[in-house]
Symmetry: D2
Subunit: 424 residues, 4 copies
């Protein structure tokens, strides 16, 4: 599906300069007592999951402007995800969304095997009504006042677990749109009690080796209140459900100005960090490409993760969750995976011994300078060399463009219709 020739040709052209940059960076790092090869190996092992829905063009409530060659279904989506992994070497798993991605397990596994892909967390959907669905989620799902609606939503989540078991997934991510648009519309406490009842029912169906990730979000689609509005409520949920329940942090789901890295640290400290939906944002849940707006914030999140490495049971899931409205989704996902990997590698460079000493001495200036030094290191040669080593592309976007993949699938896949978003 993806011709290796243009990748190899481009790599050959770029290799000499890359090796020069890699070597000079290696010398600089060595002066600081760091072994570039060891860091490159860690970079090579770093992985972030791609969301199946991310390879389609996203939209807003105002409009959706489709791109060329949009995937027609999960098989096309897996092809696109495969391309992303082939070119970046950083995205070995795909996260499915049910019912969007329903397909026979054998077909899913076969297609994934073609590309060397596995399956990450399953995602349920009770924030939309599907054709033929018996009861509507207009007024809520897991927290609906009507027990029949809650039962339907619970059942759907259990089905997601069952599907996931057939394809090797080990986690269920639950994000709901439940909330309210008006003061008084919902009784906060009774609504949360209902949510907890439903969550317990789902948790009870979780296999022993699975994890449940619940996701908090400040607002949207509900605009006055959201049932799982912040990490505080998310923590309540994860604690009260049990040891297989964890909090998922989507970087775009917080109030303005929130110190997200501190939330990460709090969840780590109480053993309840499940993982991330990576993306970036300036205003709300903008779902922009990871690291595109505030790359230092992404680094600070990884600074916490590196700090926590080695803690018992610490194994946060890395997933991208973005909406690509004006770019080629494959390109955006490749760049985003690389940006997440970049933040990880930058955080590896932090001199933690020096940092701890500055913190202990209340030397704020040198402590923050210690972080900045790691952050401002241009680790691109490490990332590129890790890619080259595994036969991925030194420059994934250039290789993708040279590959002609988009033209090819645009020819095969019929053009999608422009859509009006939610407002019409």
């Amino acid at each position: 599906m993806l011709d290796r020739t243009p990748i190899d040709l481009a790599n050959e052209t770029a290799e000499a300069a890359l090796r020069a940059d890699y070597d000079s960076l290696g010398e600089r790092l060595a002066r600081a007592g760091l072994d570039i090869a060891a860091i490159k190996d860690k970079a090579a092992r770093f992985a972030v999951a791609v969301p199946s829905w991310g390879v389609g063009t996203g939209g807003t409530r105002f409009a959706r402007f489709p791109g060329r060659g949009e995937p027609r279904g999960i098989m096309d989506k897996l092809d696109d995800c495969g391309v992303i992994h082939r070119l970046t070497g950083a995205t070995p798993t795909v996260s499915l969304h049910i019912p969007w991605d329903k397909a026979p397990a054998a077909d899913l596994l076969a297609k994934a095997a073609e590309w060397g892909l596995g399956f990450d967390a399953m995602n349920s959907n009770t924030f939309q009504d599907q054709p033929g669905q018996l009861l509507s989620y207009k007024h809520g799902s897991l927290s609906h006042t009507d027990p029949s609606v809650r039962a339907q939503a619970v059942e759907h989540n259990i089905e997601c677990i069952e599907i996931g078991q057939t394809i090797g997934s080990k986690a269920l991510t639950v994000w709901i749109g439940d909330g309210s648009n008006f003061p008084g519309q919902s009784d906060f406490s009774r609504q949360f009690d209902r949510y907890m009842d439903s969550a317990r029912a789902i948790y009870a169906a979780l296999p022993a080796d699975w994890r449940l990730f619940t996701e908090h979000k400040m607002f949207e689609p509900a605009f006055y209140s959201t049932v799982v509005q912040d990490w505080g409520t998310n923590y309540l949920i994860a604690t009260e459900l049990g040891e297989k329940a964890f909090c998922l942090v989507d970087l775009g789901h917080h109030a303005p100005n929130t110190n997200i890295e501190m939330i990460v640290a709090r969840l780590v400290s109480r053993g309840k960090l499940g993982g991330f939906h990576f993306n970036d944002s300036k205003y709300g849940d903008d779902d922009l490409d990871a690291g595109s707006i505030d790359p230092y914030r992404l680094f600070l999140v990884f600074n916490e993760l590196i700090e926590a490495e080695g803690k018992p049971g610490f194994a946060p899931a890395h997933m991208l969750d973005q909406s690509h409205n004006v770019t080629d989704p494959i390109e955006s996902l490749m760049v985003s995976a690389t940006e997440v990997q970049r933040a990880y590698v930058q955080a590896l460079l932090v001199d933690r011994e020096a940092l701890a000493a500055h913190q202990e001495a209340n030397d704020a200036l040198m402590a923050t300078t210690t972080l900045k030094r790691a952050f401002r290191t241009d680790v691109e040669p490490i990332l590129a060399m890790a890619r080259l080593d595994k036969g991925a592309a030194i420059d994934p976007v250039a290789a993708f463009r040279a590959s002609g993949y988009r033209d090819r699938v645009a020819a095969e896949r019929p053009a999608a219709q422009a859509g009006g978003g939610g407002i019409v």
Copy 2:
């Protein structure tokens, strides 16, 4: 279309209590030197336009959950708008959106006449692609890099003016989604220059007795930058275009914590306040019902408008612009029109002479208490009596529910399909 009988019956039942409340309020106001009848007359003359698109159920990028009896087109929409006006007596005009509301002028005028409605500002749409549209607005419209796209967008706006002229409209409202999702995607200055060129071309086509309203918005659908991002840029536009150009203030289009009433005062002071899109919001452009989240803020806006009354050329347009996702749109629009009217009447009660004296004396406590006294007056008897006088409903929502209108149109109008919003 709307049986008067249930309205009249309900009014008869409620009239005695209303008169008692009205009289006791009249006595209280008289003690403060205020004539309740004069205020009631002003309330009766107050009007706010209903947006044609507001009578359909709204949605988010995640989903749209249709309601019962959704309007199939502009004729149904005008019926719904007519009901709103009949029951509230406060919404004598409708604001159309092109191309959604395209229809022969004669048909529009005839249907409007049935309900005693007129037409308010025209709204153009260059934030979506329409079926059959030659060039896409995916990367912008009035500020697109491609002059052909800009020309198409300008042409569409001129068509809106032309349609408006056939139905008695006197204003064009321009809101665009142009902006960018990534740092660097657009050159801010060149993009704005292109916008100004297009705006000048539209302005040139404006009839002598028309006004042009441009609307600013901080974000959405663009998530890194918006071309007309705030009142500062909006003011530049209105000033540089000419004396028929004015700024439109949508209450939900500002940064968190923004003092909107102060922006209103600034625009009034420079003669550039065009009018409002009323709604309420807690997080972003939530488009909730006017006054539902922060009624005091709505009052403070009207406090500025009453302060400015009588200034030469001061004639701001009042329009609702909301998205009704979980309520019956007709009910929400009736309540919202009433809430806007309520804020207006409360602002009329402010003792402006006392307020000015407290301001002059820097007596902040008494100044703010003067506003609060007006705000906390329950003016519902005034609003209800104004409605009763014109044959509208004392309790519009109750009357609407009693009327059976929704059931009737639900039987006539086929059920709409649930939609997936922009993300699928």
Copy 3:
């Protein structure tokens, strides 16, 4: 100290109109099945504590502009607090701040008895350095890296408890400024561990019938991170400390757009709501007068409290915590106490049976209208009548101005110096 004559004269003048308003409101409420006398009795029993520091003029980091007759110490402050209670009848207790208010217990009790006052929660201060203090809190207090500093801060809190025991207080409020100004300055987890150690030491010293209130705050005086940054961390603290530990909610300590009433509901649901620091704000911790910026939000908080009334152990503390920079502090505190009481009474008027039915039926419009109806009721006659009944002032501000109290204390108390705030 406060002549009753002008109060009585003013009450006599105003009484007739008040009785007329009270009666007509009584009739309206009776139509809704509500007994105004019962509500008035509840209003009369409602109490909110005044902070001793609130009667002095506040300031910002830029400047402090003193007022006339500023209290010279805790005895003057208690006089001012007594005036507030005498005129409003709503503030029977005072909350002390140590070391600012240190004085012999007998003197404190005697002065309080003069005015019929009691003592509310004690407040410790480890966010400033006091003259003669051994170790500095520049780099933290309860979470400082140096165990000696932590011990000093713990010791101070224990001293506050001891002082409080001598004057009948039953609670300790702990707010600290600990945090960091730079990424990396502090290790979030170790810092929080240190905080917990200190908190446990304080908790261990708490008498059996006392409660510990910990307070969260998003930012200021620390500007990158705060140790107790939000209700999530505050909940962790209260849960891990034990059953005498509760969360205090200051309305101004949250991120922009935060739904505070929902936090209240969550804390109530888990039995961890300790109480409130009431104030209002538009931007940050502005410490403006309660209800002055967003009165509906204050009402929505009380809506949750009324909803929770009767739950076992539910007894939230009500305290004002404001900074009066441009008004007479006594006047602001009187008005603020009344606004808090107003929100309480409005929330009492909510038809909870109807509300629950609308919630159950997902009738968002009628649910929110049910709240709004209560909110827009002008309950001033109830509040004023409750004051009149207990010999307080129908119009506290007018009575205060007529009393000549401020002039009298201005003559006794020497003028304070203007200050430069923190920046010089």
Copy 4:
């Protein structure tokens, strides 16, 4: 005052590694068609002014924790500023604040000459009351209701100009705290009219070769409204005053989520950008060290400035304006000056031809990648080499610590008292 020996010794030790890094960076840049020497020369010419008040320890309304060796007056401050310039080579001018820095012109000039310093913009102060001041600014200054207060404030600004003329300054920066804390406290329009009258009086006194910089700020010290609240109002002021009036942008004075770089572009496009007060912030006007919270935002601001380079009359002033509460002010100012310079140099590396082509082609991904490539380049070798060339320190903080300067001045200058901030 500052021994060169430790600087030179440290430079000698570090020089070899620096040259290696510089050379390898030079090769990388050369591959991209960039001449590192030319960039280094531009870096060397880049300058940012230091605020005289910045070398003292700052504080909040809660407390001020003094540092060691705090400057006793303007002469000490100039010494500290001189050290900053000597070690960074990037801060050749100092911005004075009147009345804090009043001193005989000859003394100021002599002391500045010792260190090779000049004087930047003058800053007036009408946000505090000074001992002996006739009228108070408690209720405003340039916009006060009382014409005598306004006259006093205007007079003070004119005095600042006069002082500035004696020491070679060419600009006056006006920032006021005027605003209001309560709805209704001030009439927005009349207040702004009064402000404009005062501003015109100051403008009239401006020498022909001077510029007037007015500064906007969203909030603090006023917490409901600020007279010059945003760039829109600031633009009105600059436009209506005349061609010597310009807008100053302080990075911390905006609403949450504001796109500041876009404001910069708008002001540039209309010829009204006066310059900057650089700092960083996470919540409000936190006044943290430049680039310490969001370095990419600082880069994006400079991206606009480089884009605008060469426009006629484009000469924005660069000034730091920070509050150093927990670090050594000299160290923070050195690091901050360097961070501003870093952003400038990174912005110089942007391939503007490629960027423009991507923008024209709506290739958002490559456009933003073009910016990111420049941003992620570690330009420290360029900055360090520019410093080395002029005899400044390769590592200014290390050199400062080695110099013993702080110990020396701590011995000379008596310890300052801890302060209580504005709240006590």
